[in-house]
Symmetry: C2
Subunit: 597 residues, 2 copies
Amino acid sequence: MPSYTAPVRDTLFVLNEVLDIQRYAALRGYADATPDVVQAILEGAAKLAEEVLQPLNAVGDRLGCTRHPDGSVTTPPGFKGGFDEYVAGGWIGLSMDPEYGGQGLPHAISAAVEEYVISANMAFAMYPGLTQGAIAAITAVASEEQKRRFIPPMIEGRWMGTMNLTEPHCGTDLGLLRTRAEPQADGSYRITGTKIFISSGDHDLTENIIHLVLAKLPDSPDNVKGISLFIVPKVDVNEDGSLGAANAVSVGSIEEKMGIHGNATCVMNYDGATGYLIGEKDKGLRAMFIMMNAARLLVGMQGLAISEVAYQNALAYARERLQGRALTGPKNAAGKADPIIVHPDVRRMLMDVKAFNEGARALALWGALLVDLADVAATPEDRQEADDLVGLLTPVIKGFFTERGYLNATNAQQCLGGHGYIREWGLEQFVRDARISMIYEGTNGIQALDLVGRKLPMNGGRAYKAFCKLIVAFLNPLAAEPAFAEFFLPLQKALGDLQAATGWLARNGIVNPDNAGAGSMPYLQLMGLVSLGFMWAKIAKLAQEAIAADRDPDGFHATKLATARYYFSHVIVETATQRAKVEAGAAHVMALAAEAF
Amino acid sequence: MPSYTAPVRDTLFVLNEVLDIQRYAALRGYADATPDVVQAILEGAAKLAEEVLQPLNAVGDRLGCTRHPDGSVTTPPGFKGGFDEYVAGGWIGLSMDPEYGGQGLPHAISAAVEEYVISANMAFAMYPGLTQGAIAAITAVASEEQKRRFIPPMIEGRWMGTMNLTEPHCGTDLGLLRTRAEPQADGSYRITGTKIFISSGDHDLTENIIHLVLAKLPDSPDNVKGISLFIVPKVDVNEDGSLGAANAVSVGSIEEKMGIHGNATCVMNYDGATGYLIGEKDKGLRAMFIMMNAARLLVGMQGLAISEVAYQNALAYARERLQGRALTGPKNAAGKADPIIVHPDVRRMLMDVKAFNEGARALALWGALLVDLADVAATPEDRQEADDLVGLLTPVIKGFFTERGYLNATNAQQCLGGHGYIREWGLEQFVRDARISMIYEGTNGIQALDLVGRKLPMNGGRAYKAFCKLIVAFLNPLAAEPAFAEFFLPLQKALGDLQAATGWLARNGIVNPDNAGAGSMPYLQLMGLVSLGFMWAKIAKLAQEAIAADRDPDGFHATKLATARYYFSHVIVETATQRAKVEAGAAHVMALAAEAF
């Protein structure tokens, strides 16, 4: 059976040293996030993840969710108890607005907590995760009355939320959707249609579920400009907030899928269900994108979180499994064989995953910090820059983290040989669970298009320029430091590849937009590699300083330095190929007629 | 539900044009493989795969195999009927020795058939696949009496075979194995021990199963030099070939695993079972490696076969699914959206898979041809060269094909978006099934070590030199052809990367063997990319010639040329990164102490 230990020490290193969040102590939210408070929160979250949620992960996968003959849905055994503990710990409202019952702590802290919860039990984590997204959308566009009616019960853990976008014939292209909303005399709407792939669509964890549903009004344009957003509660909610009658919402079926069996992925039928318009008529997509942007960072975190737990279990196996001898002579001469961690190819896989995980943790928490700063930074310029950067990094974190997360889970599984393929060892579940993250909340291809087609050119490339400027500003003072050259040079080269690829896209995407489309995924990978390189360069600098100042009693920083060296010698070298793929253009991608394939 | 159409046209192209097997018409086996016969065989195999075996694939995944309270094992519904048709068609003995009931056709033909059978139903294909391996081992080392007793019933499909290597505490390192063989007065042995991960370990498809079991004799060294190979029938076999008493062989359990549920992966208990030594005492590993080399080519074929069927289903979806508009303006203006095959990133995925599949098909069948030539070529020099080349290419085909096969299945799944994650669409099964191929018959890490540590240096690098010489001999006459430059230059560059990496390994592997180990997997990838590049260059040349001679009425060769262009612009460019990873060496891979991870 797999196990999990939350990487609290590494999270604290990122928050305290890499991001130095105490710099922001004057800002809203950060004032309360003193080092002691942060450590206590992380340790509490670690305990919840390790002791309550992780033990429910395998059983959730094995037994899944059940739709009963009466149409009700139950989660796997133990999930309800686990959720009650989650609620009792106040974890849902950690970074929510105190106005509605939240604790108002920084997203940088709640994102760290989310990593642990997902590592322990991704299918479980999706229930509160989607609720957070629903709260974000309601917060962004609903009326004050609606906020007071719907948000506090969700923060209290009495209700949850879902997102209802996809229909059988449309996912990415929401302009095609068919769900209708008919205005009623009392100002409400009757919602009719079928939604599919609805995560956490129904369950027994809370007394009510607040579905956010995209639908079209009868007089709206039948395209993306005619989509409105509705709250459709599972049980209707009276104006005083008390529960009313059951709504005309039902679960057609639970999808049979590759993984995340502990989460009920539902076909939802709305049969004239009562709904409440939130935000402006026909502006529903805007609200949904607010929700989705938060969700995309969370999905990116799934890539990291699964990669981390898969790594821990592969590492434990590699240290214990005795098989063969080191190429350089026995390392466990007293035993009949050496532990397989002596073998270079096993280490290659472990180092790949480790170097990703620690760099990605820094990048993910930087992203969460930017979400905070976009809201609370001291000056409009700082808020703008933070907003630009998080907009740019969101598709990178979603797309790069989830692809690597899946590949890392696969590599971790590989470390176990045949045992990796067997259920009881748990690695194969990580691979199956990780797989969905590349698909939902916009496939990774959509992330790449968002990056290349929107985020790069937006405002004359302002976000991209800010990103490069940060890296250049970090690198420039280090240009003459020989001891830093092993990190400086590969990052400079990788940044050069990124800049060349960006220039190529700018020039050739105008000539033919297919050039931008064809290069979008390798470009996303390239920017992911550079972003992690930036994190690793910062980490290497901090580690060098700590070691030079004799502040590394347990070798933590020495290990960081060694891992940074691996990243810059074995991982970031991939930028050359990604650049070549961008610059190869669209001609040979698009050459064949559809029927010639 | 997924579907499958065997790529008969492409197989014929490879056999007739790329490999030009009619050149070998004077050789044993090939004399009978006239173009008409080959086409009829492939069409028959296609019919079996498409109409009989593919419809059993999803049900096999869903229902799996069952171990009953009496210890017996049954395969999924329909498998027995499917196997009976497989036997009736004479497919088992296609390339087996006519001396024992086979048809003596070339391996190049049976390998093509295997691709179809695996694409249709990988779990099913493993039953006869392991039987072929068992026959190969018995053929190689058993006495004539043993061959006559055990091989014909396997070729007739009355019995099957298995390989029993792995034990709970050892897989790769067989020197650790504990299964014991005690000599009996009648010349037989009593076999006692537990074997795990035994594919096709028990089933209801045949009246008997011939287990090949590795075990140690009491007086043998307790290491790899003390392993012998035994035939242990499920039901004992009398000297006249008739069935005797049930043997002391039982199935402890069927493993619960990630995929290939239609194949019974068993824990096998041998409790003083009667076994018959085959080959020499203490030389069992040599025989097992003969079996394993054949099996490794077959496992490589699994990578291609799953990639092909996954591709076909992704392509069908991409042609039909309407979603969004082409970046260059509507392509299906009459509809509400364009088919997603218009989107460059969807095409990128499809072209990646297509370019792999067609190049890999050529390489796989070349490998099978080399197996034949190693046996029947006209001169000792030709036989030696073929044997060298197939030895070199076996780990490449196994390791490269299975890794790409898995990634390609993942990419194909990605083309379906959310539907790719849902069971009924079948793509997720392909991913789960493909995953095992990277692990069994020696993990891909073991393949990489075999390539770099054994096959490269063997006989002073003779095989590697022969491989490079073939490519250079192909390229040299084309150096001055401007129309071929777009293929010549990238292949020349990739070959340069391979040669540089080989030189680096030769120099630095001697200094420190960890350098060879650390670079072994990127080196394997690099050689895979060059090998496929060699195939694609040959294909491009043939296509150019056909088009120039007006021999391309249906555009088949024009499509080949376009796909070759994709391979040389978007795929082979990866050699630069793989070379960089080889040349990055072992220092940063091995830097951390095991406890520092």
